[in-house]
Structures are given as C-alpha cells and as structure tokens.
Amino acid sequence: MTATQSGAVEKTTSEGTPALHVEGLWKIFGPKGDKIINTPDAQLSRKDLQAKTGHVVGIRDVGFDVAPGEVFVVMGLSGSGKSTLVRLLTRLIEPTAGTVELYGEDITAMSDSALLDTRRKKVSMVFQHFGLLPHRKVVDNVAFGLEVRGEKKGERRNRAQEMVDLVGLSGYENNYPDQLSGGMQQRVGLARALAANPDVMMFDEPFSALDPLIRRDMQNEVIRLHEEVGKTMVFITHDLAEALKLGDRILIMRDGEIVQIGTPDEVVGAPADEYVRDFTSDVPKSHVLTLKWVMRAPDGDPGDGPVLQSNQIVRDAARIVLDHDGPCRVADGDKLVGVVDDMDILRVVVAEDEG
C-alpha cells in the first residue's frame, strides 16, 4: 500500500504494509456534513463554519500511516479532535469522507458484520472512563469481549485469568469494578483489550482520569506490555510528557488538523510552528533531544574525543561530554556527522527555558 500512496503523506519508518493507513479523513458533525466537503465552505475555520452553517468540523483532511509494532501517539488539547480521530478509525463514529485501512483492509468500506468481526478480533480499545460493566466481576469484564464473539466459557475464563495475571490483578478477579481503585479499573480495561489478542490496540486518553503517580505506573505498564506482546498501539493523550515518553512517533493536532508528525526529538527539536513550540517549551529538552539536535558541523579537525552516536539522548551523553576536555565526536553509525562540546550540552541542560 505504501507504494500507491500519494507523496504528501510522510513515509512510514518501516517497509511493507502499514498496520494502519489513513488517508483524506474528514468528519463534519451536522446533518449535511457530507455536502460541505469539496465546497469552499470546507476551507472556513471551525468557528466561521459553525456560524455560517451550524456544522462543526471534527477532523479535517487527516492522513498518516502506522507501522506494525509502532506506538503512535496522537496528541492535542481538548477540542482538537484527537478523540474523534481514534473513533473514526474503528467507525465508532462514521467518517464523513476518507479511508482507513487496517493491514490493507478498508474499514470504511466494510459491511456491518465485517466491521463487528474486526472490532471483535482485530482492534481493541482502552477508554478514559474505562467503560467497565459494573454488574460483572473483574474476570467477567475481561472475558466479555470473548463471550461476545462466542468463545466457550472454560476457554474464555482461562484466557481472562491469564490477562488478569498479566496486568497484575491476580486475586482480584472476583471483585466488582467499583471495589477497585481507578488505576486498577484501568488495568481491567487493559486486560479486556488484551484478551481479544488484537492486531492493533487503541488507547483514548486512558490515564487522564488517574492520579499522577498511578499514571506513571500505568505508563510503565504500557511500556512493559508493549515489550512483552509487541502490539501496534495508537495512543491518544493531551499530555505531552506522556506522548514523549511512550511514542515512537507523535502526531500533533489542532482544530481537527494535523500540525506535525514526528519522533519525540523532532517535535521538540524542530517544532513545526509557534503552536507546537509554545507547548513543547516546558519540556526538559535534555531528556528528549538526541545529540543530533545539539551537535555542530565538524568544521576542520573533529579532534580525538570519544565517539557518541547521534541518536543518544543528551542527558545520557552529558556525563561523557562534560568529563572530556574538548569536543566529542558524534557519529551516525560509522559516519562522522558532527562534534559536541561542553557548551553545546550546557546550553540545553541549563537554559531549558529559553527553548
């Protein structure tokens, strides 16, 4: 699919069929949303369109690819359309226009039964407010998706128990959701999503409702699970730190449009516009940027300092650079790409705020 794709979409980082391929996706809320696309009105700002027609643009002409095994983070402030976007991907909200392909299968063109099947087997979601069934025990909540697709009681119980153990809730399987803390409830949600053994997992701001400490635990949990099960993940958040921590790549949205897609260091190091720059300004850059972003071109003699890789995080390289008198060499693989000295490092570490 990548081959036929229009050049405007940034190439994915890996070759072959992308896990998720999105192209020209629109959502305009209102009774005549589909009539507005392809008219000049579609170019109006959200506010103007609402004033003029009463329709609200949820998502405006969005396209991207997600590679298998990637953690793809969509981030934006409230109202930016990120939650709408993730729902369009499984048609929990019907898109107004555009295509979504899951491993080459066109979701937007699917029959209802095929769609049900996809939801049952291939994609699963974790929600901000958990969406657990209060009248079912933990284990039955986890097994719910399996029950829905008709698996036998014994099998689904075993599978559910495995998942409960996997997310660290062993012993709580016979409790009811309201007897658990928020973090534990979200673990149930996580286990439920994992139980179906889906190709892609989608997370809609799953940790926004949790306390900061619990949130950190849960983020680590997701990282751990990703290492263990290696699922493709689409992760929605409004928290930049979370996005930088989890994401292989980050999509930044505003007013239903894409502002920037890039790796964490790209987003911080080369913000696409003022908007992105503004809210990446608080990020401790040394934790995100790699040497690539702070090195200078190797004018003249690079010297004989230690060789560091250009994709090393600044913070991790700081000790070596500061310990060494004079510039260190920066290489991409074997090729020398630049040099970095104390001043380059300190500029990032000390002057965080100037961003």
């Binding site: 229009s6 405007a8 979409v9 940034e10 192209e23 700002s45 506010k47 004033a51 405006r60 002409d61 969005v62 396209g63 402030l77 409230s78 109202g79 499984t90 929990l92 049900l116 099947d117 996809t118 939801r119 049952r120 087997k121 994609v123 699963s124 929600f127 901000q128 407010h129 958990f130 969406g131 657990l132 069934l133 209060p134 009248h135 025990k137 933990v138 719910f144 998706g145 829905v148 012993g171 709580y172 399987e173 016979n174 409790n175 009811y176 007897q179 949600g189 439920r192 505003r254 007013d255 449009e257 894409i258 502002v259 897609i261 890039g262 696409a272 003022e274 908007y275 503004d278 809210f279």
Partner: protein
Amino acid sequence: MSTATAPPPAPPDRTASASKEEQPYVELGKKRHTGAKLAGIGIFWLVMWLVFHNQMTRALGLQDTTPFHEWLNGIRDWVQLHGPDNWFFGGVLGFIGDFFNAVFEFLQKLVSIPAFPRPVPEIGWLGVVALATWVGWAVAGLRSTILVVVTMLLFGVFGLWQDSIDLLLVTIIAVVFCFVVGLPTGILMARSRATSAVVTPVLDIMQTMPPFAYLAPVALGFGIGPTTAIVLTCIYALPPMIRITEHGIRGVPDTTIEAARSLGLTRGQMLRQVQLPMARRTIVVGINQSMMAALSMATIAALVNGPGLGKDVNAALQIQNIGAASVAGILIVLTAIMLDRTTTAASERSESMGRSGVASVSGPGVMLAGVVLERLPRWATEEAGKGVRQPRLTSAGRWLVRGLWLIPTLVLVYFSRQQLILAQFPTRDDWPFLKYIDGKTVTKLVNDFSNWFIDKVDTFTLALKNDLTNWLINPLQNLLAESPWWTMALVLLAFAYVLGGWRPVVTTLVCEAIIFGTGLWNDTMITLTMTIFATVLVMLTAVVLGVAMGRNRRADTAIRPILDAFQTIPPFVYLIPALALFGASRFTAIIAAVAYAVPIATKLVADGIRGVSPTTVEAARANGSTKWQMITKVQLPMSRNALVLATNQGLLYVLSMVVIGGLVGGGSLGYIVVSGFSQDQLFGKGLAAGIAITALGVMLDRIARYAAERYGR
C-alpha cells in the same frame, strides 16, 4: 492534505496564546422586556373587561347542553345498544374485559373472597400473610418484611381484610400489565428515535389528562366493575413505567456503550448484556413509580365501582364518617408505604444483585446462611474477591436459601386452609384484645377528635374562607370568567407568546379551539381561576417548606414523612374535614387540590435547594452573605430550574384534583364531569368537560414548559 512539514495556515487575526483553545460559538442574548409586555397585556385585559363586562362569556347553565354534547350522547347510546355486537367494543374491549375479569376473579377466590363451595378463600389470611412475608423477604430484605407483616395484619385487625386485598390485587394486576407492555415499549423508545418521537406526545397527554376525564369513557367501554378499575389503573400507571424504562436504558453511560461497541457487540447483545443489566435499578424504580400511581388510581376507581378500599372511603364520605374514612385511609397509606419501601429496597438491592452475599441474604437469611454455608454444594458458594472475608452465596445459592424458607411458609398456608380462625380474620368477638385496636375503636377515636377540633375552629376557618374568597378568588374569577371569550383567548395567547415564544402559541391556539368547541368556555375559565389560585398557594407553601427542608436536614426528616403520607392518602379522606372546616365552596376544592399538590412541589424545591453547588454556597458565605441573602440571592435563583419544574408539576397535580373539587362545591368543570357519569342526559357534557380539562392542562403545561426553557437557566 496536511503534512507534518507544512505548517497549517494560521489565521492572522489570532495570537498564539489566544488560539490554544477554541472559543465556542455563542449567540448573543437579547433583552426581552417581559415585565413591560405582561403589563401591556394586563392593561388591555382590564380595559376589555370594563367595556364588555359579562358579555359574550359563553356561560352555559348547569342542565343545558350543546349539540356537541348531544352528539356525544348519541355515540354513547349507540355503544350501549350496538356495542356487544361490534367487533371493537364487543370483540376487542370485550375480550380484554373478560380477561381481566377472569384473572381478577381467580385471584380473588384464591385470597380474598369465598371460593364456592368453601365459605372462605382458598388461602386464608395466615397463608396470605405468610406468602407476602416470604415474597417481601426474598425481594427486599428483612426491614421491608416487618413492614409487610404489620401492614397485612392491620388489614385484618381493622376489619377490612377483603377490601385491602382486593385493592392490592387490582394494583398488582395493573402493574404486571404495565410491566409487560411498558418494558418493551420503553426499550423500543430508547433504541429508536422515531418510536420515541411518536410515543412521547401520547404519554404527555396521558399524563396531563386528569384521571377523572377518562373515567366515563372507559366505564362506557368496559362496563362497571373490576375490569374498568384495572383498565383505568393501567392507563394511569403505564406512562411512568415506559418513561423510566426509556430513561434507564438511555441513561447507561455513553462511555460504557462505546466500550461495548468497540468490542463488537450486536444490538441484541448490547441490550441483553449491557443495557438491561445496567438499567436494572432504574427499571425497578419504574416499577415502584408505576405501582404508586396504580395504587392511587385503584382507589379513585371506586367511583366506578372499582373494588377495594376506595369503596370504604367513598361509603364513609356519604355518611360523614371521618373516622371510618380514616381507617380505610390509613390502610391505603400503609399499603402505599409497604409497596414503596419493598420496591425501593428491591431496587437498591438489585444494584448489588449477584454481589456480596451479606447484602442480599440479610436478617434470618444471614443466620441460616451461616449455618449451612459450609455444607452447601459447590455451585452455591464461591470465593469472594479480595477484601471480602467470608465466602459468599452465588445466585443459585441464594435461591436455595430462599427455597428453604418457603417450606415453613407453605406449612402456614396449609394451616390456613385447615382452620377457620386462620382462614377468616378474627374479630373482637374471637379475640377480645382486638377491641382496643380494631377498626371500630380507631373510627370512634378519630371521629371524637375531629368533631372536637372542627367545633373549636370552624367559625375561624369559615371566616377565613369568606375573606379569601371575597377578596382574592372572586375578583380573579370575575376577571377571567366575565371577560368576553375572545378577550380571554387573546390574553392567553399573548401570555403564551411573551412567556414561551411562538411554539406554545400554536398549542394554546389549538387548545383554545378545543375548549371553545366543547361549549364550556365559561366553566373552563372558572376552573382556570381555581387552578391559578391553588397553584400560587402550592408554590408559596412549597417554597417555604422546600427551603427549610433543603437547608436543614432535621427539617427534612421531620417534614418528608408527612409529605409522603399526603401523597398517598386518597384525596377523598380529607374532603370531609375540609368540608366541615370550609363549607361547600370553591375554596374547599382549592384546599383539597393544594393538599394534593404541595408534597410533590415541596420535594422538587427541596431537591433544587439542596442541589445548589456547595462551592457556590461556601463562596457566598465567604463573601459575608446573611442567611436571608443566601436564600434570596443564591439558593433560590440557582434552583430556578427546580422552581419552574415544581410549578409545572404543581399545576398538573392541582388540575387533576379539579374534579374531586366538584364533589365539595368546586362547581365548574369538575362538577360537570361528575354529573356526566351520574345523569343520563349529561353524559356528553361530562365527557366534553373532561376534554376541556385535558386541553386546559396541555395548554398550561406547554406554556409552563417553554417558559421554563427560556427562563429556567
């Protein structure tokens, strides 16, 4: 197509900081000048009144009829003559009638009347009490059970066993019917906007229509007797069941629905495994509401020979026996409390259904469970989750425990079939100690007290009535009823427009046309006067009581039970003391209506006051508001929504009491409705009055609702 590298075209007029969060699009409000407009209408009205005083009022004498009334009479005659052979009246209605009759008679013979050739019912009082106790315990737990036992024993002690049980039977049959019809309807409405759009207005009308308005037509279709009572009760009790079911299904959080959808549930799976289980508690609340409505209607149905305690109240009313009416009234209230508490407990428990064993197997169940839990088979118990110490019963286990308790229950049923004293409730002749507490004693007590009380205060109350009537009611009525009909029609339209905009104007116009068509314009205006006056009294009382209750927990605990009692007591019961205190007059009718409507309005106001955000109250306190400022500047304005709702509900309740008012001198539409099912040649006029009341109700309801939409926030 947006890309990562091309920055989006940022509109030039926004600064970076202002554009972070989009400002929502808001329409600017306009100033309405409501006060000035209302004053204008008032002046027009007064001028017209002065000029056209007592002309074109469309007044109609008591015994006079219009061609429309005669036409309705004709229909009635036709139905009486040809009904039995007609496919609809004889066939459909006949079948429904026979069905309800058969069910009712079967149950009556089972528990309330002699089952020929036995001199007593199949199951005697002890057996009935035992079975009711078991049911109460199984669905609602120990506390409700005690209430059930006490109430049912009092049925017998007060000597009204059969009528009490009959009332219960009518109520239960109607509720079962409502459940069977209402649940699917409610589900359908929750899942299909189209169905909801069609059914909702029908429910609106059913709920606005005062029950008396359809007494006569239903009695015409089903004859007199239990069937009519059951059908009336069903009509009255069905809307809450449907509404609350719809609400419950719709109330399942979107997040849950969405999560379930993401798992790929079909619509059927969604209903069975997500929506119904999660709406279970709300649905039980619906049953509760439906049951309360059914009980009050089943009492009123005594007017068309419905069986049950309503008959006793009615009979006592005829011979001025406040005591006897009170005894029956007390039993009705107790029945209501019993049904209410049992279903409420059941709904609270349904939430924890299948949950911790302690909550659901309470009281004796716990003791029994403690003994046998260890020996129960595997399927009956399971490991509880972490934090719950003892193992708990599974659903099947709980049913086993319930089943065990059924055995002693059935033994009692058996005895009640064997022993006459256990089959027929003993009287004071059988058990002498009963003479201290039985119905006769209570009757005498109440009569003595009320005679003494009335004797003390009636001169004062009669004077109060005269003053209020002469200074307030009569002038208002003169203004409404002595203005030409077209003036009133215009004034009402103008009010509708100023208060609610264009939408209620259309409804008002239609309703006015209907009222005009019934030929009862003048009577409707008199009824409207009483309705307005009563509603004002209701709201004054409700605000005073509601503010006290909303601000003070202790006031709440003191007042709420009284309101509950007034809500369930059949209005007939307090008609007699009201008559004695205020004489046969419109004022008495107003008092009866106020007594009926105050509880609901007060509760709504209290809830509104309590619903004011504590943060706001705290902030106002921090600003140094006095108590009075707090009430008038913070709590009342912020509960404006509740106040508007309370007014609306109060109005509808008042209107539904208008007919009862006809029995104590209220005259106008209420009296005409009552005449309608008393006098042959007035049938059509009575029916027309029912239609007029309904139209008046719909009109007032719509104006209030749209006004609420405008001013309620």
